[in-house]
């Protein structure tokens, strides 16, 4: 490392003077942190958008709007639809495919299957990248710790060649090693917070979709009879 001790302790100097494994760990952590923040913001926008759309659709649906008009609107290519609208469109489209007079139970069964399939796809879309956030939250502290341990090992190994061991010989190595832990924590903390928050919001949305599916199948059954 540097021969002149405690000359420059600035952040950039510490990073640039770190050993190669520590620098690799730091690089990994920076990229992990960047992706986790990117997904945090992406999921924030997606979930916000989804909640807003669901509120709007439920409001329109329970005000007693015409189901055919709603179906037209949901399937039009210009309109940006929400998850609940897509579930509705799948169910209503499947229901209308069957000609009048077929067995009601069979019609309802196929309708429910169609809605469930769309529901699964929608939930998969909403929950995408959440597992990544969970992984970042649990793993990146360990990765940072690995870098720190490696850096401290190196600084102590360099200490063994000294006749007089002072804290000034070890301190810079430990400081630069601890930056890795700081990075790991910086990546982990927001990821964990975001994961918990987004998991609860997607759960809420899932219950809303499921209850809507049940209610819609009731409405359609009444029509079929």
């Amino acid at each position: 490392m540097n021969t002149t001790v405690t000359q420059d302790m600035s952040f950039l100097h510490l990073i640039s003077s770190a050993s190669l494994p520590v620098q690799l760990v730091m690089l990994i952590l920076v990229s992990i942190s960047f992706f986790s923040w990117w997904f945090i913001f992406r999921k924030l926008f997606v979930i916000r958008h989804e909640i807003k759309k669901t509120d709007e659709f439920e409001d329109i649906f329970w005000r007693g709007a015409d189901l055919n008009a709603l179906y037209q609107r949901a399937t039009s290519s210009r309109y940006v639809s929400g998850s609940m609208e897509r579930i509705f469109a799948a169910g209503f489209g499947e229901f209308n495919k069957h000609p009048q007079g077929t067995d009601t139970e069979a019609v309802m069964e196929s309708t429910r299957r169609a809605m469930r399939a769309t529901y699964q796809r929608e939930m998969d879309y909403l929950e995408s990248h959440l597992s990544f956030l969970a992984t970042v939250g649990s793993v990146s502290p360990y990765v940072g710790l690995l870098g720190t341990v490696w850096g401290i090992m190196n600084s102590f190994r360099s200490l063994s060649s000294m006749t007089q061991a002072t804290i000034a010989h070890v301190a810079p190595g430990i400081a630069e090693a601890l930056i890795a832990t700081a990075m790991g924590l910086f990546a982990a903390i927001p990821a964990v917070v975001a994961y918990n928050r987004y998991a609860s919001s997607t759960d809420q949305l899932a219950t809303r979709f499921e209850s809507f599916m049940e209610e819609l199948s009731n409405v359609l059954q009444r029509r079929a009879v």
């Binding site: 405690t6 600035s10 950039l12 942190s33 990117w38 997904f39 769309t118 910086f186």
Partner: protein
Amino acid sequence: MAMSASILRNAIHTEPRVLLAGGLAVLVHLIFVALMIFSLNWKDHPPEGMTVDIWSEIPKPVQEPVKSQPLPKQTPKPEPQPEPQPPKPEPEPPKPEAVKPAPQPPKAVVSPPVKKPDIALKQKPEPVKETQAEVEEQKKKEQEKIKEQEKLKKEQEKQKELEKKKELEKQKEIEKRKEQEKQKEQERQKELEKQQELKKQKEKELAAQQRQRELEAKAQREAEAKRAAQQAAARAQITNEISKYKALILAKIRSRIVMPPDLPGNPVAEFNVTLLPGGDILDVRLSKSSGHAVFDSAVERAIFLSKPLPLPPDPALFNEFRNLNITVHYRE
């Protein structure tokens, strides 16, 4: 229907504001890095100042590399400037000194010889004129002499007057000096008197302080004596209490003894009794037998019968009663 299904599947993948999210992520990291850099730099400033202070004590050659560049530039400049300046003046003074003395003495030597010839020339023409008007000159000389004499007389008189005046002035000065000395002596005496007064005052103050101290000491002694007396009284009370209760215990035990009849002389039995708080008896041991087993056993029974023994109400005094030595005489 196939059309609508394809539209639905495509619609799933339109995610809002992906790029904005990326930009925000970059922004967050930039803020974090900036915070780290600035916060770490701020923390590093005091230690740097410390290192400069420490190095400044070590010899100069080390000082120059460690200090920042502007400082060494400033320090060398003043140092060389003074150094060249002193040498310049030093060479200069010797030169003028060496040159001037040389010309000056010659001038001084030359000028007197030049003047002397002038005087000699003036003196020489006078004897030449004597031949034509010696008488007139003599008369003039006589007149001049007379005048000079008169002048001398006048001057002498003036001198005498001046001397008289000087003497008067001297006398006056002497008188003044005497007066001044007298005044000084008076002032000294006054100062001495003042000092003496101050000393007296100080002595008085000291005496007063000593008196106060003595009074305080007396008060302290009295207070101590009072305390001692009170303590003694308390001790006396305690001892009184202890002896009173010991007497009570003995009296109670005595009242319970069933005396064996017709023992010769006055046998004494001594017992060591261990008490519990509250007056219960833990242990009774015969420390010195009376010589009559009947009497010893009678006393022992009486001690056990007389429990609880009377104890003072103050629990602090129980330590005096924990191990009691009871001596019982056959006859009172």
